[in-house]
Subunit: 370 residues, 2 copies
């Protein structure tokens, strides 16, 4: 069973990446040493698909389980939902000896993780990610957050899970668009750490038709494990993003977040704006950090094979997206921190990118691929 271990002192934990691992969740959690009752938190999309199976598996392993389902979607990733979940957990008899199981995509991981971080000032939690983005990225590393009026993810906590269980077979229930947008983060990992994954990602892209039912889960399992290993090493080096190392994971995200914030919630998916942000970051890397044209082309080809957007959709106003970029949290004390590539696998945290460069890069996204 492919298992990646994160070494974080007392906060160390394993990430299990294995087809069929969802059914054995209870066993894995028992083996990881979690005690007490379980609060299983999921959303209205994922709950009907997998909650009963996970609940049964937990009960078979001897845990008392309560189920908490909130309405799916980023629009519900807020403190009001958190308060409802916490009130439900209290009513279900959970105290500081209980733990949380997060079953779902990135929003569920954020919500359940933040709930666990705050409940009685912090109880353990387990991630069972069911989207590509959550399996390769957000479920590992302990970043949890909710949105408020002033912006996305502005309130949150670093709270490491005690175990992550990623079952690639759950991805077969996703539609093609959701699958592909999640793979944008895999392309990002390949670009900053392991360019050898790019051909495999193009092969995987070819196995996706209208939905995930034809997904090559064997290849996906290998690729997810490779991606988690990359994320794990970065998190180990820089658990709380204080050293700049973890900031490399923001490749493509600065302009991506600006674009995301400029359109109505959910009209562009996270991986789609990251795809756009990566094209911009590749162009800036060509200009400022010596990235070769061939390297830029290979990443763009992989994004294109995944049908990810590479030019701004009509609904995005470049000026509005730029304005949002300026209020994004990757700025510090006025200066702009920006992740560039010197070559595939070699990112740098640059301070060379100025206001005017961002404007040029955003404009670049309005031009067709050459």
């Amino acid at each position: 069973m492919p298992t990646i271990s994160l070494s974080l002192g007392e906060k160390s934990y394993d990430v299990i990446v294995a087809n069929g691992s969802l059914e054995a969740a209870g066993e894995h959690i028992r083996h990881a040493g979690l005690k007490g009752a379980a609060a299983l938190i999921t959303d209205s999309n994922v709950g009907p698909l997998y909650a009963e199976r996970v609940k049964k598996s937990l009960e078979a392993a001897g845990y008392r389980v309560s189920l908490h389902v909130f309405a799916a979607g980023e629009a519900h990733k807020n403190l009001t939902t958190i308060e409802t979940l916490v009130n439900e957990m209290v009513a279900a008899g959970h105290d500081r000896s209980s733990f949380v199981v997060a079953l779902g995509g990135g929003v569920v991981g954020d919500m359940a993780g933040f709930t666990a971080a705050m409940y009685y000032r912090g109880i353990p939690f387990v991630q069972i990610p069911t989207s590509v983005m959550a399996q390769v990225d957000s479920s590992v590393g302990g970043k949890t957050a909710v949105d408020i009026a002033a912006g996305k993810n502005l309130i949150g906590a670093f709270h490491q899970p005690r175990l992550v269980i990623a079952d690639p077979q759950t991805l077969r229930s996703l539609d093609a668009r959701t699958l592909r947008e999640g793979m944008a983060e895999m392309v990002k990992h390949a670009a900053i750490r392991n360019a050898a994954m790019l051909p495999a990602l193009r092969a995987l892209a070819a196995s996706i038709t209208e939905d995930g039912s034809t997904l090559d889960c064997e290849l996906m399992e290998k690729l997810i494990a490779a991606n988690v290993a990359i994320k794990a090493r970065v998190v180990e080096e820089d658990e709380k993003e204080t050293l700049g190392v973890r900031a490399f994971l923001n490749f493509g995200h600065t302009l991506g977040h600006g674009i995301e914030a400029s359109v109505p919630l959910g009209s562009l998916l996270h991986g789609e704006v990251v795809s756009l942000g990566m094209r911009a970051a590749l162009a800036l890397s060509r200009q400022h950090s010596g990235l070769s044209a061939a390297a830029e082309r290979e990443v763009l080809d992989t994004l294109a094979a995944l049908h990810l957007p590479l030019t701004l959709p009509a609904q995005v106003d470049p000026q509005t997206a730029l304005a949002h970029t300026k209020t994004d949290k990757k700025f510090q004390g006025g200066a702009i921190r920006f992740v560039l590539l010197e070559s595939l696998g070699s990112p740098v945290l640059s301070r060379k990118v100025m206001q005017a460069d961002l404007e040029e890069a955003m404009h670049h996204l309005t031009t067709p691929l050459s």
Copy 2:
């Protein structure tokens, strides 16, 4: 200048206890090494008294300062107020390089501390406590929380301050009732760690008239420093309340919380219910852990000198208070953890206290002092 240092590894910090230290807050904060802009958070009671002085002191030390005032009172200690504060801080241009200054009593410390714990997943904060309870207890130790419908302090974080500045002169603006209720926590510290403080507390009680204006601030400075030292050592031993040591600080709090939850918010002050809870805990200690009658008497005499309640007020229904005690968070997996005294200065964490004992102890509070 009396300074108590807490040794918590990377999270170590100082507590300055000194008359006049409020005016020098900016200097102290600069000396502690805090960088970036300051978000000064206070409430509508304390703001008009001290916010301008603290703001000027911070500005004189070179900090950019924004002021954030929320409506005073436990009723506002909730996630809605937190969200407002965070939105205000974003609008004021604060990012992850800023820090929070909490100016006020326990509610302000909880609110501002929790805001700092969550803002951008955690930024530093400084406590400037202005009530007795906050100076001797809640500002030290990093416990922050808000209330939700299901109960008090159910959502929160352990987030240690980077510095605490306690100026006893601020206590002169309090009314006698508020002053006295705060001193209940000092009686608690004396009971569990340093009985020699009890005569000094009775002397201090004698200096309080209708309000704090006649308070003996020299004696108060010494006593607060002694109290902070007690709290500091307990927190060092058991930062996150996992070992049971920190649980000793809950002496008098289990039944106290139950009583507090059974009446409308604010109708009994925290120290007042702790006084009642201590009388109950003293009686249980006589019964189960061999506390002497003389020891019980000395603590009760000190509480009486402070005009703190020792019999249940008419508004408290013992049955309702008991019901609330049962849902209180000091229960774990069904068993009751209860702090008893073997003698003054020697607490034990007992599991001998059963349901029926709690009922008897609550009944004891309906009988007059013998």
